[in-house]
Amino acid sequence: MSPAIELRGLRFSYPGTANTEPTQFGGQALLQIESLAAQASEIVVLIGDNGCGKTTLLKLLAGLLIPDGGLVGVHNGPALLVHQRPYLFAESVYANVAWPLRIRRLPRNDVRQRTLAALEQVGLTQLARRWAPSLSGGEKQRAAIARALVLQPQVLLLDEPTSNIDAASIAAVERVLRSQAACGRSVIMSTHNLPSAYRLADRIVPMKEGRLRPVAVNILRGWALDPGDEHIGRFQVCGGPQIFCPAARGQYTTAVVRMDDIILSTGATATSAQNRLQGDVRAVELTAGELARVEIDCGCRLVSTVTHRSVDQLRLRTGSRLWVTFKASAVELY
């Protein structure tokens, strides 16, 4: 299946800054990305420090910036960007959402139907007549998403959609994004809000100094089981094993385990760690530097980062049988 959006060999620097060091990014330096793609229905989340190039990358994907080199391809429709602080026109919410259709001179009935449908998708039907600049941060974000949705984009790009809004609004925005992905849209968003990133992402893409970095965490979908009175809880991985985690009550749907918290061993050694799973090595990727990434199938897919020396000592090969160990406290629930 061809991706909804992809880029290859992308290079970009702001005019007059081509020779600046990537470390001096600050919105002014080089962006260099070998490849990135998002499939239909996939939510890709860009994470990274301020100035690492997330916003610039989104603007390149949206066609607001022209790359110095490389290819940005959007298939089957536009890719629309919703800004971090979306600009809403000084008119009603309805007029804001209808505007992209009105400038395309669509029949009045079509405009009305599509506008109301978009407002319904983001849960703002009740606020259609409200003066848009008076909305709260979360409502503005949803109104801006609706204004993009009326154009029925294949790809929705969002710059920090959950920053500077309250918890209830974050949940509302996350619901909207999940439902859009479920409708077949690709969603690419940037965020500093890691809980939100972990809850939403089908794929996390870390960025640093204008480059993509390998992801450092395992994200497991499932549900937390009621811990009763115990100090330790359990998390049921979708289609996989139960793992031990800190006791927590609530609607947790995501467990996150850092790759370097996972210990690999050839035998079932006795340790204080609660999680001990047996699995088969699916892949060993020797990355640049000292570390290797080992993918293990133990009822769910887990990736561990180990040194090249450990790969040799444990004789890790595809198909090797291994024990995977990590502490319950290494599991974070979102």
Binding site: P78, H83, R85
Partner: protein
């Protein structure tokens, strides 16, 4: 000036004297026409200054700001040199006609419109332009929307320019020649009538001019607080 002049001035206003009406009409006609011309040319230039980067932008903007304070007689002289018989446009025979006054006042109003539109729009959220681009608006649609979003700044700029030209005397006098029933404006008439010692008409015209100035100021104040109500869906 004495009490009798004031009473006569009020009488002229109450009966809406024919000459008073003609002079007022001329003033408003010239000022509205020149302001409209300046607005039509100056607003898009202000939009370009606010949202486009180009070489020497700083210099051009600084020059435009400076031209806001252009003395009216200098503008009069400049346009006079173009329109007089020996000037490059002398063949058009426009000197001492309403058209000449309108051209001069439009030149006077243009830097005011450009500078104030630029200043107002430059303060708009920088993400507005990108938002319009990402939503697929054409260049014309973007310009119209930007002007709409910055409408208070744009209308304020136009009203300020109107206030300046309606009260100026230099260009109207030099280019219009203060011809009775033809190019005489409120300001040129006040200058003339006062010199003649005919204070009544001067005072009456002064009251009209002040009323216009107050009207423009009230309009500006209203605009600053203006927020349209919800429209039907």
């Amino acid at each position: 000036m004495n009490l009798a002049s004031l009473i006569e001035a009020l009488r002229l206003l109450v009966i809406w004297d024919r000459e008073l009406a003609a002079i007022t009409f001329n003033s408003l006609h010239f000022a509205i026409a020149s302001t409209l011309i300046a607005a039509l040319i100056g607003t898009p230039i202000g939009v370009v200054f606010a949202f486009r980067e180009f070489r020497a932008k700083r210099t051009v903007v600084a020059a435009t700001h400076t031209l806001m304070g252009l003395p009216t007689v200098v503008v009069g002289l400049l346009v006079f040199s173009l329109l007089s018989r020996s000037g490059p446009l002398g063949g058009l025979g426009l000197m001492f006609t309403p058209t000449a006054v309108i051209i001069g006042q439009a030149v006077l109003a243009l830097p005011i419109v450009v500078s104030l539109v630029y200043g107002g729009l430059a303060r708009l959220d920088p993400e507005l332009a990108e938002t319009l681009q990402t939503l697929g608006a054409t260049r014309l649609q973007r310009t119209v929307k930007i002007v709409r979003e910055g409408r208070i700044a744009v209308v304020s700029a136009i009203l300020t320019a109107f206030g300046r030209v309606v009260g100026e005397v230099g260009t109207a006098m030099m280019l219009g020649g203060n011809v009775r029933w033809y190019t005489r404006t409120i300001t040129t008439a006040i200058a003339l009538e006062t010199q003649k010692g005919a204070f009544a008409l001067s005072v009456a015209l002064g009251i009209v001019l002040m009323t216009v100035a107050f009207g423009v100021n009230f309009g500006l104040n209203y605009l600053v607080r203006f927020r349209p109500g919800n429209r039907a869906i």
